[in-house]
């Protein structure tokens, strides 16, 4: 039943630019073969720590933007939040540094056939892959409303080009330092109703995705999510990034978010803590 994203390549890239944007780093990488096959929602896996690294596992980043034939060659852009030693190493890499990358990996956001009203919802740096998606959707004739939230203004990722792409953008911060004070879910329902949203795309921490899904489900709006599970390999061989997902056959299985995700139909994910009792082969 699995269908593996067959467009991945492993290759050597060069950092063209590494700039701090608020709490994040925006890194542009020149690399052959990844932008060529990338679709919004795909991710890349980067080796960290250099040649004598004591960090054997790859770090996973959603593709923010990619372009196969820019004036700088093929480029891939990511937004990095420093969360541990590996991401800290990456944010320290200067222009011209070499990176070993595998990608594009995983599922991509499904694009509706008709020009419908959609909302993109991003929590923190989870907003990164949504603006490229917005551009694709706009080109399809969709109306796109954006809702971006974070704890504080420095953690809001809403680039100027992205703002221009969407029909509207609403920002929320928990401390009130930018946009409306509060959480995404405080304004979400009104936004969905006002703009007659038919499809939601969201990306961010699991708690946020779950809160958004509760509202989407109540209003019967389709919801595509992009999850951020911790992964060791990103290519489907380690089985660490699993989530309980209901298949078309009705059976719940622990599926790999690197192969069957990161973009998952919110309807199919079982939104529970731990392994749900109905999961195939649950033995505890």
């Amino acid at each position: 039943m699995i269908s593996i994203n067959q467009r991945a390549v492993t290759s050597e890239g060069k950092i063209l630019s590494n700039r701090k944007i608020g709490a994040y780093h925006h890194i542009i990488i020149e690399i052959e073969g990844i932008a060529e096959g990338a679709k919004p929602g795909n991710f890349i896996a980067i080796s960290v720590g250099g040649v004598e690294s004591n960090m054997p596992l790859r770090r996973i980043f959603a593709i923010y933007r990619s372009k196969a034939q820019s004036k700088y060659g093929s480029i891939v852009e990511i937004i990095v939040a420093e969360s541990g030693k590996g991401s800290a190493w990456l944010t320290r890499q200067i222009e011209g540094s070499t990176l070993y990358i595998t990608g594009p990996l995983g599922t991509s956001f499904p694009i509706p056939a008709d020009p419908i009203n959609v909302a993109i919802i991003g929590g923190g740096y989870g907003a990164a892959p949504l603006f490229d998606l917005a551009e694709t959707l706009k080109n399809k004739g969709c109306r796109v409303d954006a809702l971006i939230g974070a704890a504080t203004s420095a953690k809001i990722f809403a680039p100027l080009e992205g703002k221009r792409t969407v029909n509207s953008i609403t920002i929320t911060t928990e401390d009130g330092s930018a946009g409306k004070k509060g959480r995404i879910t405080d304004v979400l329902e009104d936004l969905l109703k006002e703009n007659q949203i038919e499809l939601i795309y969201s990306c961010g921490p699991m708690g946020m995705l779950k809160a958004v899904h509760e509202i989407a489900e109540r209003l019967s709006i389709a919801h595509q999510i992009s999850v951020e599970e911790s992964m060791a390999c990103g290519i489907g061989i380690c089985m660490t990034c699993v989530l309980p997902i209901r298949g078309d056959d009705g059976i719940v299985r622990m599926l790999r978010s690197c192969i069957d995700g990161p973009v998952i139909d919110g309807e199919k994910l079982i939104w529970s803590e731990g392994i749900p009792p109905e999961t195939l082969g649950r033995h505890l």
Partner: protein, 308 residues
Amino acid sequence: MSFDYSTSIAGSVFSNPIFTASGCAASGRELAQFFSLKELGAIVTKSIMLKARSGRDTPRMAETPSGMLNSIGLQGPGIDKFIEEDLSWLISSGAKVVVSIAGESVDEYGALARRLRGIKGISAIEVNISCPNVENRGQVFACHPASARAVIESVRINLGGEYPIIAKLSPDVTDITLIAEEVINAGADGLALINTLLGMVINPKTLKPHLGGKTGGLSGPAIRPVAVRTIFQVHAKFPKIPILGMGGVSSGSDALELIAAGASAVSIGTASFGDPYATIKIGKELQELLISHNFPSLADAVGIAHDR
């Protein structure tokens, strides 16, 4: 005269000594998009159980200095679906296949072996009696000489001599040569050394064990010296028993250490998580190193550290 890179384990011949490690290549399909599986000595499949199994709670992984802990808990589709979907695909791809099996009881191992009889294209059976990710440490058959022996006897009887049996052992024992002796006497044709070491990470903020399953198996370069020592000890005592060595190999030079200690083939595990091409890269490096040491064949280097 050209260099002979082939290796053999109890009569099964492989074009080169670089295998995947069970649990580190899923069922092979995932790596096949990067290179032809025929380039490897063999694919060792993820240990399969009789019935479908969901595995342990998440988080299942923690990176540690030069290593990682995993607590997957033998997630898999069960033997029937494995044979129907994964194994048939692997065999048709032309890859050499070592099927790894894991059971909860002696009878279950026997039943797994029976299901695998008569399938053309299997090169060997790895009997994983040492997975640390089970709820009950008493289920780690490789920690007890009598239960290790019972499992291998059951597999041997049920296989009817069709394929070589490789017993995968745990380094988490006082004297691994005693366990090795039991499984050899029970009919194991070869040994897989070593499985992961049992470990734990505690989150310094929450002060709770980080892994959903609390404990996990430690792998990666951090455990390589343990693998080298274990292989050396076992090869010294049983020089005629072929060893599939594994434990933190991430370069040709690492692989050569295991070969020199007594391994006839080397499985690559955690290194593939960091680089999909790790097996191919290590295979090339090892071959170059063996040639630069003037060995006419891989076989001439196996266990060489015992003579120097």
